[in-house]
């Protein structure tokens, strides 16, 4: 390790990196996952750091093209952090080790917050507008995700500015944040089940010649509305979680069941 070199990356370089890291999955494949796109995103910065040092550049490119699978929106945090180390001419082993240690946890936080909290909320709200024919639905959705796209820049800057200090804060707060995010997400999914899964029993029971009981409106709606959607969703949850059934299989089963129950005149 040598003493810190003068910084060669400008603020603009980091901003460009924030945008450019959208290429993370450009050559996604099962063998190396995001590795190609990961290196590709950082190439201009690496080129600047290793100017005439062809060997240094090729070593950095080779290291970075090893397996990685992290979160596409938050990736800038890790890229910024590791580039600040590259810039300081830190030991290759350290950079590589940190990358391997951190990409998984970062993916976990990102998936918890973005796929399992933000998406159900934004999708639920914008879909409720859209299903009334209101164009506000897709507009809300687009604006939220545009903001998230722009947030890639400050996320990348944060990683770069914090450098190795980032590791501490990442570990410290990630648990509390992802727990709160999960609570919010789970609450919204509860609401989504009640609003968007619909099961309407059309079968009726004839008690006597002129006395017909509708199973849906006279029975389920009076005892507990939405109990069937809740039950069916929890059934899917059980099969996915405990029986490890493939979601595609469940979609096909759902179709088969729906057509069968329609044929029998029950739903």
């Amino acid at each position: 390790m040598t003493e810190s070199k003068t910084k060669v990356l400008t603020k603009k370089d980091i901003t460009d990196l924030g945008i450019r890291n959208v290429l993370l999955q450009s050559s996604f494949n099962y063998e190396r996952m995001q590795a190609g796109g990961w290196t590709l995103s950082m190439l201009p910065a690496l080129k600047k750091i290793y100017k005439d040092d062809k060997e240094g550049l090729s070593a950095a490119m080779t290291d970075n093209t090893e397996f990685i699978n992290t979160h596409p929106v938050l990736v800038g945090f890790l890229m910024g952090m590791l580039l600040s180390l590259e810039e300081n001419n830190e030991d290759r082993g350290l950079i590589r080790g940190l990358k391997i240690a951190l990409f998984g946890p970062l993916a976990g936080i990102g998936d918890a917050i973005l796929w399992f909290t933000l998406l159900p909320i934004v999708a639920g709200i914008s879909a409720s507008f859209a299903s009334q024919g209101n164009v506000l639905g897709p507009i809300i959705f687009f604006v939220v995700y545009l903001a998230l796209f722009i947030a890639r820049i400050p996320i990348t800057r944060l990683g770069y500015n914090l450098g190795t200090k980032a590791i501490g804060s990442l570990q410290e707060r990630s648990q509390a944040i992802s727990k709160s995010a999960t609570i919010l997400g789970v609450t919204v999914v509860g609401g989504l089940i009640a609003s968007f899964v619909s099961i309407d029993v059309i079968a009726e029971i004839a008690i006597s010649a002129n006395n017909v009981v509708s199973i849906q409106s006279d029975f389920f709606d009076k005892i507990f509305p939405n109990i069937l959607p809740f039950g069916y969703t929890m059934g899917m949850y059980y099969l996915l979680k405990n029986k490890k059934v493939n979601p595609t299989v469940l979609i096909l089963i759902t179709f088969g069941l729906a057509i069968l129950l329609s044929l029998l005149g029950i739903l």
Binding site: A35, S128, G185
Partner: protein, 259 residues
Amino acid sequence: MDISLGQGILLSLMAVIVGIDFWLEGLFIFRPIIVSTLTGLILGDLKLGLLAGGLTELAFAGLTPAGGTQPPNPVLAGIMTTVIAYTTKTAPETSIGLALPFSFLMQYILLFYYSTFSLFMVKSDKYAAEGDTKAFTRINLIPMFIVAITYGIVVFLSTYVAQDAMRALVNSMPEWLTHGFEVAGGLLPAVGFGMLLKVMLKKQYIPYLLIGFLFASFIQYSNLLPVALIGTAIALIDYFNSKSSPAVQKGGDDYSDGI
């Protein structure tokens, strides 16, 4: 209603753009709520696009590519739900079911690409070792362009070329079958929500699921914002509590199971 050649081409171009977005997970314009709306705009029936978009978005809410699994394709679902409703005059609730085979088709094409694109890594390694940035950039952008072109072709064939066959198929379906598709449309979001819960739900979170469910069941409101606000309040209470007593935080979360 017919899809004109111009509309077919526009739909393919849109698919190329949102297809790249799905590959990269950039702007999230690949979600059905956006894709269906744009499809509706191209077909000149915005309202239909919005209805189909709202419906398909929810059905696909839990089918996410989180953790590198490839879900049934949301782009094709968004396009075909709208297109089939438009050409065959079926309700979006029915056409969402008819759109699924297209969604599966694209899912399998992408799965095939995930495996075969591994071959590009051989050249990538070579160029990395040589420090050849230009060649490295080229070889890692090619897969993205292959994906983009595939979307364009698949969507052009599915929307413009196959529309007569599609219409014939729908017209030949008996009433119980179309109604069955409609029923399936109402049930389908349950699979998606089940997927979400598979990752998120643990014993200690069941009360929150019930709060959200009961709130939306008994207090009818036109959208889910109130539920989201209640959830935010509860989440904040928990966050501040765990901050003041760090010991509680220990047993927190691990996503080892789902992701």
